[in-house]
């Protein structure tokens, strides 16, 4: 079967409504950002105790989704799995949109975003001992590599595309391991500090990326009005189960190690304190336990609905995992001196959700949604099938 790709028409009323809504939300996000930029970060929930807020949570989540989906879609490309060909272009395009959203997220979190160019003057203005600066190279390179990769796909050059796919796999893995290292290398914060953090991030990226790809595959097959091949979805479900178990092992070992001294108290605080409901309910529940039950239980494990349900749960659960790392990791008070530190210096920080921050966060997602639907409209991303009634684009 020769596969052709085509843009969607994008003339229906629903499309315009969606476009307008996303545009409006992006504008609201932009306005929130302007407010936080003019008035300062007092308009956000961050403080000197919890310096990183929702933009950073969203950023590392998006980088994970992007890297994970790029790795898995490229793996199928390299290993010539023809059944995944329909999603090859959209997966790479989505990876670009997601990493773009992540970069916007970082910029929104900076106190002085107009100076963010300083992060990209590699070696000259950067301190290359800083994990953040190293990640600047990784993110910049990732952006370029994905663009070239997509370019070769559009140009229909299978050989070059395959080479780019191999490079993209390696680089994407580095990107998310580097992101994990930003947190894992901080000795002062017990909840962050772990040599496992880069690996845990990579596993989380693969799991959430695969879940996103599964949802995407189902959606696109539905849009193209083509029968869903049950076996593909079920095999994706098996892979998802394997990745969830891998991720769970990393998280379990990490938390267990931290339950021994000297990090015992912060970890007990995390597991039983104010963030424990998010940890147990959303992270452990949504990301590990419920999807595993759905994928293992004999009554559900042969249905595509269970796989889709598990994928949606994983996408939500991994977001919670990022939140429960970033916010409580910084909130736990620093033990300046042995004993009980009185007053504010000994209390864990609290993180209030402010309207500015919420709209800013929604704005990031809306902007990405806008780019995605504009991409679908103007680029040949989606597969065209004769049965779908859409005309293939001119070759």
């Amino acid at each position: 079967m020769h596969l052709t790709f085509t843009p969607i028409e994008g003339k229906s009323r629903n499309f315009s409504t969606l476009e307008a809504t996303l545009m409006a939300l992006s504008l609201v996000g932009l306005m929130s950002f302007v407010i936080s930029y003019v008035k300062g970060h007092e308009t956000l929930g961050t403080s000197n105790v919890i310096p990183w807020g929702m933009p950073i949570v969203i950023t590392i989540y998006l980088i994970g989704l992007s890297a994970g989906s790029l790795i898995l879609s490229s793996l199928t490309y390299v290993f010539k799995k023809e059944e995944y060909r329909p999603i090859s272009r959209i997966a790479v395009f989505l990876a670009i949109v997601l990493i773009f959203g992540a970069m916007v997220g970082i910029a929104l979190d900076l106190g002085r975003p107009e100076k963010s160019w300083r992060l990209f003057i590699f070696f000259a203005l950067n301190n290359m001992r800083s994990m953040f600066a190293i990640n600047g190279i990784l993110y910049g390179g990732y952006f370029v590599i994905s663009l070239v990769y997509l370019g070769f796909m559009f140009a229909d050059k299978p050989k070059s595309t395959k080479i780019m796919a191999v490079i993209a796999i390696g680089w994407a893995a580095l990107v998310h391991m580097g992101t994990g290292a930003i947190f894992g290398f901080i000795a002062a914060r017990p909840i962050f500090y772990s040599p496992l953090r880069p690996l845990e991030f990579l596993a989380a990226a693969m799991a959430s990326g695969l879940a996103l790809l599964t949802i995407l595959l189902v959606l696109i097959f539905k849009l193209a009005k083509r029968d869903l091949n049950r076996d593909i979805i079920l095999s994706l479900g098996k892979l998802l189960l394997a990745l969830i178990i891998l991720l769970f092992i990393f998280v379990f070992v990490d938390k267990l190690t931290h339950l021994y001294s000297p990090h015992r108290e912060p970890m007990i605080w995390l597991l039983t304190g104010p963030f424990s409901s998010i940890f147990w309910g959303l992270q452990v529940g949504c990301a590990y336990v419920l999807p595993t039950i759905l994928l293992v239980h004999p009554r559900y494990n042969k249905t595509t609905k269970a796989v889709i349900g598990a994928a949606i749960l994983v996408v939500i659960g991994i977001f919670a995992e990022r939140f429960v790392l970033v916010i409580p990791g910084a909130a736990y008070p620093l033990p300046f001196y042995p004993g009980k530190i009185e007053g504010i210096w000994g209390q864990p920080g609290s993180f209030p959700f402010t309207p500015v921050e919420i709209f800013m966060s929604l704005g990031i997602f809306a902007l990405m949604g806008l780019f995605l639907i504009l991409g679908l409209k103007h680029l040949e991303l989606l597969p065209a099938y004769e049965s779908s009634g859409q005309k293939p684009a001119s070759q």
Binding site: N48, V49, N127, F132, P338, I341
Partner: protein
């Protein structure tokens, strides 16, 4: 080259917070408000913490004044991606507001909570020194009224006093000291060259038992505490 360090005598400290106040006055650190303090957004270059051990009626309270530790192996210098935090030759860890992009990685990395993020556009009346209005045209480490929100701030060991003193040929550590050392009513703080065997700080460190905070992290702080 000198290696500036501070010695704080915990036996003499009464926890009066004069160092916190005088630091705010000297460096024109914004007042803050109860609201800001509640949300932990107030800027402190120097703080005094109280640490209790034991149970009533057998309680021991330690008062620990905490400026920036100016670590020899400072985690903030390692993590700053923009070279905004750097170590001067004399060992003082500086923050360049012009280069700081406000990523707050240094706040996360600092084990002593010595760093504060300037999270609001300060009005003129919120500064202590009304004779020095905020001037946004000149962004330097000094004079401190020239500051902006969105960057990270910290103690500088009053480097402006030291630099001025050296220029005028005064003896640093005796005639010229940081504001918190000068104004401590209990004379609990001492400042000087750690490498100079004749200095007051070297004499104190060789004659009394001392400790540094969180030595396990290997940051090698240059603020020493003489034990009670």
């Amino acid at each position: 080259m000198a290696r500036w360090g501070m010695v704080i005598d915990l036996d003499k400290c009464t926890g009066c917070q004069a160092c916190t106040i005088v630091c705010k006055v000297e460096n024109n650190v914004p007042h803050g408000s109860p609201e800001e303090q509640k949300w932990r957004r107030e800027i402190y270059w120097n703080k005094v913490i109280a640490v209790t051990n034991g149970k009533y009626p057998r309680v021991n309270t330690q008062l620990i004044p905490m400026p920036c530790m100016h670590c020899d192996d400072a985690p903030c210098v390692t993590v700053c991606p923009a070279k905004a935090t750097y170590r001067r030759e004399d060992g003082i860890i500086m923050q360049d507001f012009r280069k700081c992009i406000g990523c707050k990685y240094c706040i996360v990395a600092c084990p002593y909570g010595a760093r504060s993020f300037n999270s609001k556009e300060q009005e003129e009346k919120e500064y202590h020194r009304h004779d020095l209005p905020p001037d946004r045209l000149a962004w330097g480490p000094w004079p401190f009224p020239s500051r902006t929100h969105g960057v990270v701030e910290k103690c500088t060991f009053c480097f402006h006093r030291i630099d001025q003193g050296i220029k005028e040929g005064k003896k640093i550590g005796e005639e010229v000291v940081p504001a918190c050392v000068e104004d401590c009513p209990a004379h609990a703080r001492f400042f000087g060259d750690l490498d100079d065997t004749e200095s007051e700080v070297s004499r104190l460190l060789s004659s009394r038992g001392w400790s540094r905070l969180r030595e396990g992290l290997g940051t090698k702080p240059k603020v020493y505490y003489l034990s009670k």
